[in-house]
Amino acid sequence: MTSDALIMRGVTRDYPVGTAFGRKQTLRALRGIDLTVGKGRTLGLVGESGCGKSTLAKILLGVEQASSGEVLVEGRPISGYGRLERAGLIQPVFQDPYSSLNPRMTVETLIAAPLAVRGIGDSALRRRRAREMAALVGLPDHLVSSYPSQLSGGQRQRVAIARALIGEPRILICDEPTSALDVSVQSQILNLLHRLKSELDLTMILISHNLAVVHHLADEVAVMYLGQIVESGPSAEVFARPRHPYTEALLKAVLPPRAGVRLPELGLEAEFPSPLRPPSGCAFHPRCRVADGLCAERAPERDGTNHSFRCHHPLGGGDQAAAMTTPETA
């Protein structure tokens, strides 16, 4: 099955954490992740903060290890790759381009850094490649000798993208790539990512708390809740007919900037639970509008194939799911 770029099977990740009373506890940040991303596809990963999105990304980038389960990259276990080999294959783009760029390096040096680390080419070749990459991501030539502090937020994110792409990786992991940007710049980066993914045939994981962003770029979407994927499938399908009540609530929470939009009633009264004390049964049941006794007792198995979900009482897929296609009007 070499057509899949990324596969995760039953992946868990535990963090040992100390409590206020000095006792050791285990925080299970990922609780059995099954995930497949086909080559050249873009998977959008959504869910509230603390649900495990960045942990999942770090495992794919090899900066964290799974506590159990299997992670395959292009058909091979991730542990079988050397550090440089892995870096040549998978690259990250993070939310805050400022903190990830060395302030004392020029744009050109920053972009070329991955080649230098891997000892590819001589400095003249690396400079030429860096300039090509700058052009590819829409950085004007006169900026290549500037320092990060001289750039705008959008330009810094372009530098980060150019640097991620210079080693010709096949997989790009974008963790909240536009969350620190203003909307008029966010759209530029979304346009850029859209163009690059088809021009370079990239496989992409796009993590965002902004569902409109995910809707715009992702082919597939996976909704996470407390360390699990509770719903996943083709983006168009999931957005139009969510089966999990949590997905439905997330979709309703999107406020389009249009006259006459009303504040949604999500019916999500309780707070996001602590991963140290996950609720019994279905982890979402304390907040769920359709939960009953069964939900508090037994965790739902994954149901469905192409469009799958974990819910004892999945939504019918009828009109209650209209939130994203027809903004509610007053």
Partner: protein, 343 residues
């Protein structure tokens, strides 16, 4: 009498830095009526927070504000003494911040902080003040409010802290609340709850609410009227429906063209964007502040600063174009060849 609660005219803030003067707020006029929510919207750095802080008398020391007037129920508060401010703030005018830890003291129990605010402004017994604190915590949806009184801020989640800060702002039943990005740091699910909460309380009490946000979706959900800021100036005002439905200023139009809207924008379609960056706000203006980034710019736009043009009552735009968005080609926003502008 039901005059406006807040009237701001000609507000300006100068900040001297390294021998030059920043002018982050240049020309802001603002009116908020009883029970009204006015949203100030614009991207980062356009002067929203400084506008809020100067209304609240909370500007950093280095800043030099000036204005024609800032009136709270008719009283000009722009020159209020520190003593007068201590009476006004927390009592008649209150602020909600993006980061609740700006307003909450990490070293004091929540109950003590709330009691102190009340006792500062009202002659009220400790136990009555506690009862009032519990009542308000309950009202803003904090579960088991009695138990919270003895907790410290760090023992609460971000969403709960935000609610506590809202309860604190409402303790003395202020006439005006200024909320600066109150939900920006929160998850969208919590955001919706907090916004509903603010709206419900406002409907119930008739307070005037100034909601500052960079999020046009939030604005659409809660605002009665919108004030769009760019580069320290108000560039467009109108009702929520007017501004979002038929934006007149090219900046407002550009913002709205940049935002993907599921169900409207097609997946992967080229989104609009505003080329260039917000210029550094120093020196006096010699042209329209949006000139260099504007796809509709004409020769006249470089002639001098542009005045607000009143289109109708409460509807204004700082632009020389005919106020007819139908006559423009909004596809323009997606067709720039480069994101740069000549400087």
């Amino acid at each position: 009498m039901d005059g406006p609660i807040l009237e701001v005219a000609g507000l300006r803030v100068d900040i001297p830095v390294d021998g030059s003067t920043l002018r982050p707020v240049r020309r802001v006029d603002l009116t908020v009526g009883r029970g009204e929510t006015v949203a100030i919207v614009g991207e980062s750095g356009c002067g929203k927070s400084l506008t809020a802080l100067s209304i609240m008398g909370l500007l950093p020391r280095s800043a030099r504000p000036s204005s024609d007037h800032v009136r709270l129920k008719g009283e000009d508060i722009s020159k209020a003494s520190p003593r007068r401010w201590r009476k006004l703030r927390g009592d008649r005018i209150a602020m909600i911040f993006q980061d609740p830890m700006t307003a909450l003291d990490p070293c004091y129990r929540i109950g003590d902080q709330m009691v102190e605010i009340l006792r500062q402004h009202r002659s009220i017994s400790r136990s009555d003040a506690q009862a009032r604190a519990v009542e308000l915590l309950g009202k803003v949806g904090v579960p088991t409010p009695e138990e919270r009184l003895s907790q410290f801020p760090h023992q609460l989640s971000g969403g709960l802290r935000q609610r506590v800060m809202i309860a604190m702002a409402l303790l003395c039943e202020p006439e005006l609340v200024i909320a600066d990005e109150p939900t920006t740091a929160l998850d969208v699910t919590i955001q919706a709850q907090i916004l509903r909460l603010l709206r419900d309380i406002q409907r119930e009490t008739g307070i005037g609410l100034v909601l500052i946000t960079h999020d046009l979706g939030v604005v659409a959900g809660v605002a009665d009227r919108i004030v769009v800021m760019y580069g320290g100036e108000v560039v467009e005002t109108g009702t929520c429906d007017e501004v979002l439905g038929a934006p007149l200023h090219p900046y407002t139009e550009g913002l709205l063209r940049s935002i993907p809207v599921p169900g409207e924008t097609r997946q992967g379609e080229r989104l609009g964007f505003i080329p260039g960056v917000v210029p550094r706000q120093s020196g006096e203006q010699t042209s329209c502040g949006f000139l260099k980034r504007c796809p509709y710019a004409m020769a006249e736009c470089a002639g001098g600063p542009v005045a607000i043009r009143d289109i109708a009552h409460g509807r204004g735009v700082r632009c020389l174009l005919p106020p007819d968005p139908g006559a423009r080609d909004p596809g323009l926003w997606t067709r720039f060849e480069t994101e740069e502008v000549a400087s």
